[in-house]
């Protein structure tokens, strides 16, 4: 009997030590990629990838030129072009223009695409690697992989991610698009979606919808590996351009290392005064039917009847 008990001990011991080893492995795993990522970002975006052929895309937003299209009396054209080009579901502004306050009481306009952070909180938390960095440093989403947990949305400190809560209402031509993570059209119900720097255009050497559509040439697409940036009208030396214009990144202190740089300003290059009272015009989704904010009621036999708890259709 004594021997029996010893056998039991050994079995239990082996089981427990295997369990402990497993636990250690689990606890150890997350540290490894995090550390290596730290390293990559510490050596500056200029050499974000060892691969010389790869690009290191970034965006520079010159707010000295941005007036939120208020001077033109149209909705922000970057947002509008993005919506039209990606058949963005109603309510989604993948690049949104925010109104910000200046210390003296004036205002400026800040276009905000996805910042494609190098230490991206969204990529860190994704449980199934549905969101990832591609070799050019852009954060993409594989919508056939995404399980819809929305952890990435909780993690994003810039609220630049959106969820397809229902089957989005899209124009019929959206169905003709060939889906890829580079061009996530048509949007898929139950998945997270966001700006991806129009990666399909960049691959073909074209500028994103927002950059091409901006009437003031505010947005520059840049590549750190070539140290160049272009807004479609001029080409600048990226490093010099950032240095000479006091470029900054939004919420730099968070350590997310965004790939979007801002040049401070309030549209003065087009003669906009900081106190200019004109407001942003709302963007439109021509295919929208208001279903985004509506929720179906309790009874299945009243399917056509749309009943809401809040925000009844006006």
């Amino acid at each position: 009997m004594e021997g029996d008990n010893k056998g039991l001990n050994r079995r239990e011991f082996l089981k427990k030590s295997l369990g402990a080893a497993g636990l250690l492995a689990i606890l150890g795993t997350p540290a490894v990629p995090l550390l290596s990522q730290r390293k990559a970002s510490a050596s500056a975006p200029h050499s974000a990838s060892g691969n010389k052929k790869a690009h290191a895309w970034c965006m520079v937003i010159d707010m000295k030129k941005c007036d939120g299209c208020t001077g033109l009396g149209v909705p922000p054209q970057c947002t509008q072009a993005c919506i039209m080009g990606h058949y963005a579901p109603e309510g989604m502004k993948w690049i949104e223009v925010y109104e910000q306050k200046l210390p003296g009481g004036g205002r400026f306009f800040q276009p905000t695409p996805c910042y494609q952070c190098e230490n991206a909180p969204c990529v860190n938390v994704c449980p199934v690697a549905a969101t990832y960095h591609n070799e050019d440093g852009i954060v993409l989403i594989d919508h056939h992989r995404c399980i819809g947990c929305r952890f990435c949305m909780a993690a994003c400190p810039y609220q630049r991610r959106f969820f397809n809560w229902g089957t989005p209402k899209l124009p019929p031509e959206a169905a003709l698009a060939e889906y890829s993570p580079l061009y996530p059209v048509p949007a898929i119900k139950g998945t997270v979606i966001k700006c991806m720097f129009c990666a399909h255009f960049l691959r073909d050497g074209k500028l994103p919808y927002c950059v091409a559509a901006c009437p003031r040439k505010v947005l520059y697409m840049g590549d750190f590996n070539e140290d160049l940036a272009s807004n479609g009208a001029e080409v600048v030396k990226l490093s010099k351009f950032l240095d000479e214009n006091n470029a900054y990144r939004y919420k730099e202190a968070l350590g997310t290392q965004p790939r979007v740089w801002y040049l401070p300003g309030h549209g003065q290059e087009f003669g906009r005064e900081a106190e200019d009272p004109r407001e942003l015009k709302p963007t439109v989704w021509p295919w929208a039917d208001g279903s985004y904010e509506r929720r179906r009621g309790v009874w299945p036999w009243k399917e056509s009847d749309i009943w809401t708890w809040e925000a009844r259709p006006k």
Binding site: N5, Q110, T112, R145, C149, W165, L254
Partner: protein
Amino acid sequence: MKARAVEGFNQRLERTVFSPLTHTTKGYYAFVLLLMAIVAWGLYAYVTQLRYGLSMTGMRNVVMWGLYLVNFVFFIGISHAGTLISAILRVTHAGWRTPVTRMAELITVVALMVGALMPLIDLGHPERVWYLIAYGRFQSPLMWDIVSITSYLTGSLIYLYLPLIPDIALMRDRLGRTSSAIKRKLYTFLALGWRNTPEQRHRLEKAIGIMALTIIPIAISVHTVVSFVFSMTLRPGWDSTVFGIYFVIGAIFSGIASILIVMAIFRKFYHLEEYLTEKHFRYLGYLMLTTLLIYLYLTFGEYLTVGYKLEVEEKHLLELLMLGGNAAWFWLFVVTSLIIPFLLIVIRRGPTIPRMVTAAVLINVGMWIKRFVIVIPSLQVPLMPFDFGAYTPTWVEWSITAGAFAAFILIFALFAKLMPLISIWEVAEEAEKRAPSVAEVAERTEVGLPLIKRR
């Protein structure tokens, strides 16, 4: 003479604990039917949600998590009942725990089963849930959750089952002849040939001891990583180093409250007054008071440290919580789960059991609200220059929540018909071990009075 007296105690114990297994009232069937109806309604709501997507919920792009996550944290929280009572008290040899352990472990298992469902219900693509295994990344706190919760569920099931073996064997021997063939076979199978030999007993004790030790770190890890889902993000209120222990203490706090409620219910309906005495309620009340004070301390520290510095986003959150749209909920939490229970436990006026049960019910209501004010307001705070987010749960979310609570009670009620809710052999063993009190001796022996005099 003493041996005969103890046997009398054991026989009464068996009769009381087994009677619900053999006799079922009409009220029980009606209750089970009602619960099934609520669960079915919850399922209907879920089917509607599957059909139209999460657009059926009140969640939107700004507040992108809602009631499902609140329920998740709540249920995982009350699952800590089992660990505390059966594992910690077992390791510390607190003999009074024996009549409570089975219920506590059962709360753990059932709460984990219901709680683990909640994030799955929350998924936009539930059919892809197996991707978590196929493509899982351990860098994601969600994977930590999955690993710890499944370990905890497995461990708790084993830990529930091990002390059940002698009782199942007892059922096989006592009830086997009178019950149906299926039940008899089930009992025989689950008893694993238990004959109560010293060797079997020795091994069982050892296995239970190992499980008790193993399950404590697993349980602590579970609620820690649940908190990590929140604290690994750069959000006001969530971006906190204290969240791990804050959640663990909150979990034990609401866990004890849940045990008290369950104890009171079964004490009344199953006539367990002899085994679940006022002492048990009082002792658990003290434990509850201890965790309440720690929780109060942590809550105070959590809000003072951010409130003193008033970073912009934290300031928004505090305004929202203490003065703004969520103030009613926040202060309701403070009153219902901290202040009133504290007074109820400390001011010892009136009968103990109703006092403790009132405190426990208030605590669980308040702690659900607390989970709401942890999850929702942090998401409402704008991280970009726009207005505060809004969130109103829809009928789908409320229905699924009601279904989840009904499912919790339903599984509990069904289990209570299949297995004894009090660990018979452990209670009997404890009764033998313990020096019998004067009153008990007097009760157990026909000639009690001379014994009292001798003392």
